[in-house]
Subunit: 415 residues, 2 copies
């Protein structure tokens, strides 16, 4: 089956936002075995949008549109897609009620007349509830083909796709497609790819698709077969071979597990409590841990110490250490971690101190120099990093590498 | 003038990379006053690529292609674009020499036969030197129109565009384009738009384009004119009118300012120090403040208190308050903020406590219930929110609304 993506919105054409939705949907289509030959971005203009939808409808079996489902006059996607298939709109009572419910609890926002526009749906379509916004998704089927309309904000589009659209499309595919996600941390993309070039080039079923994230490489191993069991049987030897090559650098093969969730799992199993002390990351490490539901079983206390004074006051870093070695030093990272243990009674502490830039760098301590301290059951280790990139990138790298460092110490992963 | 972008490459269609080139080129085109109505992504397939180029050539005056200029057989962009305009290719001696020079200094790479493919250029075209790679850029002119070919890697595309293509296109454009960014917080998109429908519909120069973010609405006001001064003069009355309508809800008109940066600016001006105490947001508020370079002038101390014990231990929330009212209550939010003031000596404190879900909700205290406490110079205010959505959305909404709340109290903004 072939699919085609249409992203609707002036903010993409103006370059105000990067089209991450298209990248997400492309990856998902690839995972479903849908062939994607074209992606189009078009603005909120009825004539042009209609032309684009009609062209896609001729070329593809599944046309996925995102954006333009908002309540304003600009938002034309639903109206135009319905027009392309010659369908009229009606007020969907279920969607109207959901919008009403969403607004009920909000004090500051009152429903305006244009909000009801979002409850209008094309005749004979499947309405997909939006749990994170007021615009429902829409599926319009015609014989074996379909047009799918998704809301533009990624916080609405992604959960809707995962929960409803992915299963819907999977059921339309005659072949079964299964995949495993092998997640590797602590190695760069090109280095991982070089090590598995023979596997990537050697076969077409299963396929191996690498996808790089900050500090991580995810390998999606995907097999097509007539049954789930057959597909699994094709995938298993490849995953085993990847374990042979990368060992403990593979932190999970589960789609939904993250570096932070597996690290918290290890700590929980061992009954260890974790505390954090953050300087240049300013709470980002804590926020990432708390991203994991149930994190409170392990992580409950954290400190943001964004000045020398805060480091002394909150986690008792000795003034002499700050004076002698500076805030960005292995000695300070160690004192932060150990001070946090004393202040909270946790068994494990992670500390981060560094120069995130753009200012504050020197020849001796350049922008990107970061120390992570990790204290596990009384033993403190400190690692030095030299990251490249802007402030955001340096802070994200710091957080990921702090987690990798902690996991390594817990599992005694050799470097 | 109208422009159109075509991105060529299977890696975009597979979702392996995010199409940041398109976002970059869109922004540049907007800055040049070029109207961009369509962007297309297509793979390395001659038939489909030719179709896409021909369609764009009918619709736009400037067609910009990126990617597919590499040395491999897969790379077809130059050959196909030349074919679309009926031009043949020849070996460009200047480009051949540059490729030779580039390889001279490399130790590990030897020139292979296919490298000379990159020195082939279409007849009667302008060759644009590539200082960061081996694929030259190409401009093919036909009467008033042109097709521009750029290499795909951003490290080659961006410098080439900045140095050569931008000046080339600017010289072709008679008009200047200027814009102002009016950023509004604490109002929903549909509510803002209802209030400015007359302005949006009333004119085409300047145009007003709304763009919604979590808790914010940004309005881009863009004018075309013969000079920068004339464009500015067209924009000014619109911005003044927006201030009439939204007053202090407008927190900036500067592109680069954010809600957190203007809030920190106010605190800095008044010599006030800020501290944070976060439960359900787990450090996200702190991390967002530290996103602003120079935040340490105002924000240096923060606490993550993700359990009752942590709330008592780190910021002295009385056990009785937690027992009587629970961790998610206005009383606890107030005690957290006041405790943080005592523990750090700051003049201003922001506290966040709530149920981020997916578990932990009850009928009385459902998922999405969040209290923000804000203490300014000894007076503590608490506000209750009921957010909808998943864990990430609830936490992001909590952070944005905490910042909006603080700014309101500082500026005494009426609701």
């Amino acid at each position: 089956m072939t699919a085609e993506l249409i992203s609707v919105g002036a903010e993409i054409l103006m370059g105000n936002i990067v089209n991450t939705n298209a990248a997400y949907l492309s990856r998902k289509c690839a995972g479903l075995g849908l062939s994607l030959y074209y992606e189009t971005v078009v603005g909120d203009n009825e004539e042009r949008l209609l032309e684009v939808i009609k062209t896609a409808w001729q070329r593809a079996e599944v046309v996925i549109l995102s954006g333009g489902l908002g309540p304003t006059e600009d938002d034309l996607t639903k109206e135009t897609a319905a027009k392309a298939l010659g369908r009229s709109l009606y007020l969907d009572e279920h969607s109207r009620q959901r919008i009403l419910d969403r607004f009920k609890d909000r004090e500051s926002n009152t429903i305006t007349e244009n909000n009801w526009k979002q409850a209008m749906v094309p005749r004979d379509s499947i309405v997909v509830d939006n749990n994170n916004g007021t615009a429902p998704g829409i599926i319009m089927e015609e014989e074996e083909k379909c047009i799918i309309l998704l809301p533009g904000p990624p916080g609405e589009l992604i959960p809707m796709f995962e929960n409803d659209i992915y299963p819907y499309l999977r059921d339309k595919q005659p072949e079964v497609l299964c995949s495993a996600m092998v997640k590797i941390c602590g190695r760069g993309e090109s280095s991982v790819e070089t090590d598995i070039l023979d596997l990537i080039n050697g076969q077409t079923n299963p396929t191996i698709a690498p996808y790089a994230k900050e500090g991580e490489v995810h390998l999606r191993v995907t097999a097509k077969a007539d049954s789930e069991e057959e597909a699994e049987a094709l995938i298993r030897p490849i995953v085993d071979e990847l374990f042979n090559r990368f060992g403990k650098l593979i932190y999970t093969t589960k789609e939904k597990k993250t570096l932070e969730s597996v690290t918290l799992d290890i700590l929980k199993e061992r009954g260890l409590k974790l505390t954090t002390v953050e300087s240049c990351t300013g709470g980002l490490l804590g926020a990432r841990l708390v991203d994991v539901p149930g994190a409170s079983a392990v992580f409950t206390h954290g400190f943001i110490t964004y000045s020398n004074e805060a480091k002394q006051q909150l986690v008792d870093v000795p003034a002499e250490i700050l004076q002698q070695y500076g805030a960005v030093s292995p000695q300070t990272a160690q004192a932060m971690a150990e001070g946090a243990i004393k202040a909270t009674g946790a068994e494990v502490a992670l500390s981060v101190t560094g120069v995130a830039g753009p200012d504050g760098g020197s020849e001796e301590k350049p922008v990107g120099l970061v120390y992570v301290g990790c204290c596990v059951n009384g033993n403190t280790h400190v690692r030095e990093y030299r990251f490249k990139g802007n402030r955001t990138k340096i802070r994200n790298c710091s957080v990921v590498n702090a987690l990798i460092f902690l996991r390594e110490l817990l599992l005694d992963v050799s470097n």
